[in-house]
Each structure stands twice: as structure tokens, then as C-alpha cells.
């Protein structure tokens, strides 16, 4: 038993922090937020190119996938550090689509898409969810029909985030209506500008925008089918597993905690002298420790080449629910300055970040596999309880 990080991994953390210090400018953060993480602006592209040159994004991939085969704990350190500093490390295009393409794509597809993804030129929106297919994703009804030289897509998707900023849509459609529901789904890459694609914005209460996307006889060339006919469900599940690892870092939560304490030190030092409030802060710290334990436990298991869906689900549930509790209590400790928005300028405690993150917190609880479903997974897979 050894709970220490080895020196080479600590050295890596320092290297990542040095990179972040070099790139973390107000301009970059502004472009990132204004573009809702889309990444196509000049500064963001330069940043992504520099990030790509470090080789970090694929360093944990197996060598046959073009990676360096490093221990996945390096990736854990990378993500935790980027999350702490609120630095972009690529949206789902990098963390979910690229690995899925590397595993399931043809050689030609890898050549065609991966370099564009790594350079920041391509941005993918993910179109799985439909109005009637949320938790029950496998019941999706968007149709793909064989056409000359390819496929035509007909149907509607919802919550296609980044659709407006994207160059491509990564879309799951029913291509084999006669097969059982999980076996009849295929995965297509649809260029966003294709004829017949239309996009409607949906404004979220957090200020973010997501989109509904409509497909009216959209033609997709045959070479854009990924992973073969009926192979879509496997790919969707693969991609979601990657998403699940990235959904539960401690870094971003720890940053909100530090921001809270710094704000209290600056603007309400008398509160920090109150032993009751100090206990509340200590309690939050304890919850962060508890979450760090679950997140790290999951990461170490993945690093040992073991798959334990129950541990991944624990990290997901714990992180998403702590995000709500932490920001909620932060606002209570800050009082009314804590619910002022960024638009209130310097008067807003923590720059309005606690309330923004609180408003975003529901997505992480019901997105990426809802917490109700995750708890069932913990019961079934981790505890072996009967379904």
C-alpha cells in the first residue's frame, strides 16, 4: 500500500501547471466562454495547437491508437489540473469523439478527421438525444435509409449542444428498423452545413444555449458511416464511458471552494472568525476529500486496466451532487453578494461564479447517464444486487 504520488507524476503536474500559467489569460478565457467552448476562434486555435504539441491529450492512448501508452493516472493529473484552473482541454470532440474515432473509425476516417480535430479546425456536436429518447436512448427514432452512394437521414434531435459552432454532427440514427432496438442503431458523421440540416437555439436558464436539430432528407456519403451498420450502440456506450471519467473531477470543485474562502477573506473576514462558519467550511472540505477518494479510486482502477462500472458511477454521482451542495452553501455563506451575477461587476462575490455553477449543476446530475440510473448500476454491478 502506498498513497504517495511518484516523483515523475508530481513533476508532470508541475509541467502542466507551468503550461497553464503561460496560457491562462483573460483574453483566452473570454473567447472560450463567449464561444461556449466551441473552440474555432483564432486564439483558441493557437492554444489548442500548443496543447496538441505537448502530446498530453493522447499520451495515455495505447500505441496502436497513436498514443504513448502512458499510465492513465497521467490523464487524471492532467484533467484535475486543467479543471482546477478552469482551463479548456477540448470539449467532447477531444475527450469523447476522438477516442471513439480512434477505436471504431476506419483508417481513412482517422486520416480524414483526427488531424482536424487535434488542430482545433473541426468541432463536433453530439446528436444522440431526441425529444422522446433521453434516459431510454436506445429507443431513438431518427431514421437512416440506404440511398445511392450513402444514406439519407430523417428525424429530429434535441440538446445538440454546440450545433451552431460545429463543423460536424456526430449522429446516432436507426438504420435497421427490423432488428432489436440496441442492434439497429448506426453512427454517422454529418457535415453541419449539409442540405436539409436546420438548427433551432434553446436558451438555458444558466445563460448557455443548446440546440434542437432537424434532418430533412439529409444525404450523408457512405464513407461517413462509423463502425459499420448497426454498430452505433457500441460506439455510443464507448464514448459515454469516456465522458463519465471526465464528468467527475475534483479540481473544479476545489477551485470553487478556494474562491469562496478567498472571497470571505477579502470581503467578509468577520465571517471567517465565526467558529460555526468555519465548521461549515471544514465540512465542505471533508466532502471534497470524500469525493476525491471516489474519483481517485475510480482512476486507479482504470489505470490497473480493470473495469468497474460501479466505481465510475460512484464518482459521477458524488461529483455531480457535491457540485450542487458546494455552490449552494457557498451562496449561503456569502449572502446576497453571492447571488449577484457577473453583470453586477465587482460587487458580485466570486465574480458571480458560485451562482453560475449552481445553475449549471442540474445538467451533470441528469446528463451523462442520470444519477438514478447510476445508482442502479452501483447496486447491480458493484454490489451484485439483483436487478
Amino acid at each position: 500500500m502506498n498513497f504517495q504520488w511518484p516523483p515523475e507524476q508530481l513533476a508532470f503536474r508541475d509541467e502542466v501547471e507551468a503550461f497553464i500559467r503561460q496560457w491562462r489569460t483573460p483574453e483566452l478565457l473570454r473567447e472560450y466562454h463567449e464561444n461556449e467552448g466551441g473552440g474555432g476562434t483564432p486564439l483558441m486555435r493557437r492554444y489548442y495547437r500548443a496543447l496538441q504539441e505537448t502530446g498530453w491529450m493522447q499520451m495515455c492512448w495505447p500505441e496502436e491508437m497513436g498514443g504513448a501508452g502512458k499510465n492513465p493516472l497521467y490523464r487524471f493529473i492532467l484533467i484535475e489540473t486543467f479543471e482546477y484552473w478552469g482551463m479548456p482541454y477540448g470539449n467532447l470532440t477531444y475527450t469523447s469523439i476522438a477516442p471513439a474515432l480512434a477505436v471504431h473509425g476506419s483508417e481513412e476516417q482517422k486520416r480524414r478527421f483526427l488531424p482536424g480535430i487535434w488542430s482545433g479546425e473541426y468541432c463536433f456536436a453530439i446528436a444522440y438525444s431526441e425529444p422522446n429518447a433521453g434516459t431510454d436512448l436506445a429507443s431513438l427514432r431518427t431514421r437512416a435509409e440506404k440511398a445511392r452512394g450513402g444514406w439519407t437521414i430523417q428525424g429530429q434531435k434535441i440538446w445538440t449542444s454546440l450545433a451552431q459552432q460545429s463543423t460536424h454532427i456526430w449522429l446516432a440514427a436507426r438504420s435497421e428498423p427490423d432488428l432489436p432496438k440496441h442492434q439497429g442503431i448506426s453512427l454517422f458523421i454529418v457535415p453541419t452545413g449539409s442540405e436539409g440540416v436546420s438548427i433551432r437555439p434553446l436558451r438555458c436558464m444558466s445563460g448557455l444555449t443548446t440546440y434542437e436539430t432537424f434532418y430533412d432528407n439529409v444525404f450523408v456519403p457512405g464513407e461517413n458511416l462509423v463502425g459499420g451498420r448497426g454498430g452505433g450502440w457500441n460506439i455510443v456506450m464507448h464514448a459515454l464511458n469516456h465522458e463519465r471519467v471526465g464528468l467527475s473531477p475534483t479540481g473544479n470543485l476545489a477551485r470553487h471552494y478556494d474562491l469562496l474562502v478567498e472571497e470571505l477573506q477579502r470581503s467578509a473576514p468577520q465571517k471567517l472568525r465565526d467558529p460555526v462558519l468555519r465548521n461549515r467550511l471544514a465540512e465542505l472540505r471533508m466532502e471534497l476529500e470524500r469525493h476525491r477518494a471516489l474519483a481517485l479510486r475510480n482512476a486507479v482502477t482504470i489505470a490497473d486496466d480493470d473495469v468497474n462500472a460501479g466505481l465510475a458511477s460512484m464518482a459521477k454521482v458524488s461529483g455531480s451532487e457535491l457540485r450542487h451542495r458546494l455552490t449552494n452553501l457557498a451562496m449561503d455563506l456569502l449572502g446576497r453578494p453571492g447571488v449577484l451575477t457577473e453583470a453586477a461587476g465587482g460587487r458580485a462575490a466570486c465574480g458571480g461564479q458560485q451562482q453560475t455553477t449552481w445553475l449549471m449543476s442540474p445538467i451533470l446530475r441528469f446528463g451523462g447517464g442520470t444519477n438514478e440510473v447510476q445508482r442502479s448500476i452501483i447496486a447491480a454491478r458493484h454490489l451484485g444486487m439483483a436487478r
Binding site: T135, M205, V276, R336, P362, F366
Partner: protein
């Protein structure tokens, strides 16, 4: 013991609810939010229909309904997420009336819709205790009322720009009191401070603004008690609407070929929401009733507010969990209650502040019956 509304109270509630469901669309509220303004037309209607006067005594040509009636008004308007200063005006005006402040003229104008008064208590320290704003005597005005000059800054003043008068907590030689200031006075400067709840609010500077002394230190305490109790009514409305919408939605929405409401996990969440709502309704009206009887002490009010401030975010976020993506977009009405609810949970004292007040009396044995 009867926690139910009586017939007159029920009639008021039902009339208001039906009227608002018919006349106040959520899209109209969205428009006010976009323009960051109060709904002036709705305020005029409220006055014209005589509703604003219902809690006040007959001497002011009111309906004599008291605090419970005030709670019903606040609850019903909050159920439609209305952007009007109903809680603020009732808090200020009922405080003045109950403390016997010599402000009959102003109260009549408020009930006639000619004036709107909002409390201005908190300063940058966000504390009900540390009041630094100063009132300085400035001779006797023509009308015979003694006149004062106000100096200082108030923060988080709800509807500051919509109100014609601010009821400002200030001190003179260390003695606290409430002072009335016209918001149009050249010595008053408001700057909007946008907040989570999208309720218009401002930071206000008083630079030698002319003021009238309305009441002494005891009125500041009453103002906070009433403000807290009516905020409970707002929180209650947010929680209950969130629960009602969630039950309706999960009955309709199907996944895996069945209604969401048939899944046990969903039912358990909804049951938790319901327990919070039931307890909150009882505590809110119990405290309003105690205030009416002048038997509520600071700690009872604070405990109720702490309870609702804690419960509301739980209930609201569970509502979101059960709505999934649909509850997250502004086309859906759920968000109004989430935003307003969290915002009000920190207004008039957070759960932490209220608990700190309750903590001063833990040795006192409570009477459970």
C-alpha cells in the same frame, strides 16, 4: 388548532389564483425579465382591485385581513413569478401601520397606488445589525414634520428604482430608526445590481437626501420579522409550484414505455419534495399567524426562515432532476421558481444567519404543545 385557511381567506386565494392564471402569462413575466423591470401594469391592477388593501385595518379602508392575508397575497403572486414589489411594499407598510408610525398619509397613498415603498436595510456588509447609514437633523419642514438628511449607502434594495419611497434603516448618534426618503430626491442615486432571481434591485447612495423619521429601533426588528415571514411565503410558492409541475410532468413523460412517475426512484424524490412542502406551508402560516397575534419572537421567525431557506434549494433542484433536459430551458416555466427561490433563500437572512439567531436561545426549553 386549525391550520386551514378560513372561508374568506380561501375566497381571496382562489380569486387571485384564477385571476392571475387568466391574466398574467409567463411570457409577460419573461418580457419583464428581459427588460429588467417591474410589471407596472400588474401593480396598478392589484391596487385597483383592492387586493393590496386587504391585509390593512378598516381605518385605512382596508379589509382587516392581517398577516395571513398578506401571506396569501405574496404566495399567489409568487406562484406566477410576478415581478412586482408585493412582499416589499407589504413588509414596509405593515411595519409602519403596526408600529403606529405617524405615516397615515403615506400609507393611504400606497394603498391608493400613488406611492410605492420598499425597505432599504442592508449595506455592503449584508448584515441586519451593522447599520452605518446616518440620519442628521435638518430643522423642521413646512408641514411640521421634523426633517432629516440621510447619508450612506444601501445594497440589495429590491425594486429601488420602481419605488417612489425607500424606508431606510439609519442611525442617529447610535440610535436606529426607519426613515422615509423619496427616491426622486436629488440626493438619491440608484445603480442596478443584477442578481440570480432576476428581481430588479439596486445599490443606492443617499447623499444628503431629505428624509422623514417614521419609526424607532423597535420598528427595525418588526420590519425584519415581517420581511422574513413574507419571504417564507415566496419560498413556499416556489417549492409548491416546482412540485406541482414535476408531478404533472412525470405523469405525462414516458421513457422505457411507461410514465416516469411509475419509477420508484422518481416517486421517492417527489415524496421528499412533498414532505418539505407540507412542513413549509405549516411553518409559514403558523409564523404569520403568530405575528398577527403579536406573539412571534425573533427566534421563531428565524427558525421558520432557516427551514424554508434550506428546503427550497433541495426541492427546486430535485424538480430539475426529475424534469431532465426539459426543465433546463427557459421555454419551460420551471426556471422562474428555481431562480427566484434560491435568490429569496438568501434574502432577509440566509439559513446560516437565521440559525445563528436561533442559536442564542438553545437553552430555552421549547413548548411542543
Amino acid at each position: 388548532m386549525n391550520p386551514q385557511l378560513d372561508e374568506t381567506q380561501l375566497l381571496l386565494r382562489d380569486t387571485l389564483r384564477q385571476f392571475l392564471e387568466r391574466e398574467l402569462s409567463f411570457d409577460r413575466v419573461r418580457e419583464c425579465e428581459r427588460e429588467a423591470r417591474a410589471d407596472a401594469a400588474l401593480w396598478r391592477t392589484l391596487v385597483k382591485q383592492g387586493w393590496l388593501a386587504t391585509p390593512f385595518p378598516a381605518a385605512l379602508e382596508g379589509g382587516g385581513g392581517g398577516m395571513v392575508c398578506a401571506g396569501i397575497l405574496v404566495e399567489e403572486f409568487s406562484r406566477r413569478a410576478a415581478l412586482i414589489p408585493i412582499a416589499e411594499v407589504l413588509t414596509a407598510a405593515l411595519t409602519l401601520q403596526r408600529c403606529g408610525a405617524p405615516c397615515g398619509g403615506l400609507l393611504r397613498r400606497v394603498l391608493a397606488g400613488e406611492a410605492v415603498v420598499t425597505p432599504a436595510i442592508l449595506e455592503s456588509g449584508d448584515s441586519f445589525y451593522g447599520i452605518a447609514a446616518e440620519a442628521l437633523p435638518a430643522g423642521t419642514a413646512a408641514a411640521g414634520e421634523s426633517s432629516w438628511l440621510l447619508r450612506g449607502e444601501k445594497c440589495f434594495v429590491d425594486y429601488a428604482q420602481f419605488a417612489s419611497h425607500h424606508l431606510v434603516a439609519a442611525q442617529c448618534g447610535g440610535e436606529r430608526g426607519l426613515y422615509l426618503v423619496e427616491s426622486a430626491d436629488p440626493g438619491v442615486k440608484c445603480e442596478a445590481t443584477p442578481a440570480l432571481g432576476r428581481i430588479p434591485q439596486a445599490q443606492v447612495r443617499y447623499d444628503g437626501a431629505r428624509a422623514v423619521r417614521a419609526a424607532g429601533a423597535e420598528a427595525v426588528g418588526e420590519l425584519v420579522r415581517i420581511g422574513r415571514a413574507l419571504t417564507c411565503a415566496q419560498l413556499l410558492a416556489c417549492m409548491e409550484v416546482s412540485l406541482e409541475q414535476t408531478v404533472a410532468y412525470t405523469n405525462l413523460r414516458e421513457q422505457f414505455g411507461r410514465a416516469l412517475s411509475t419509477f420508484q426512484a422518481v416517486q421517492h424524490h417527489a415524496a421528499n419534495m412533498a414532505m418539505h412542502c407540507e412542513a413549509s406551508r405549516f411553518l409559514t402560516y403558523e409564523v404569520l399567524d403568530a405575528l398577527e397575534r403579536r406573539s412571534a419572537d425573533d427566534r421563531q421567525v428565524a427558525l421558520a426562515k432557516a427551514s424554508l431557506s434550506r428546503a427550497a434549494p433541495e426541492v427546486l433542484m430535485t424538480g430539475h432532476q426529475l424534469h431532465g433536459g426539459q426543465g433546463f430551458i427557459e421555454e419551460n416555466d420551471l426556471y422562474f421558481f428555481t431562480l427566484r427561490g434560491k435568490d429569496r433563500s438568501v434574502a432577509w437572512g440566509t439559513a446560516e444567519e437565521c440559525l445563528a439567531l436561533a442559536a442564542t436561545g438553545v437553552e430555552q426549553k421549547a413548548r411542543w404543545l
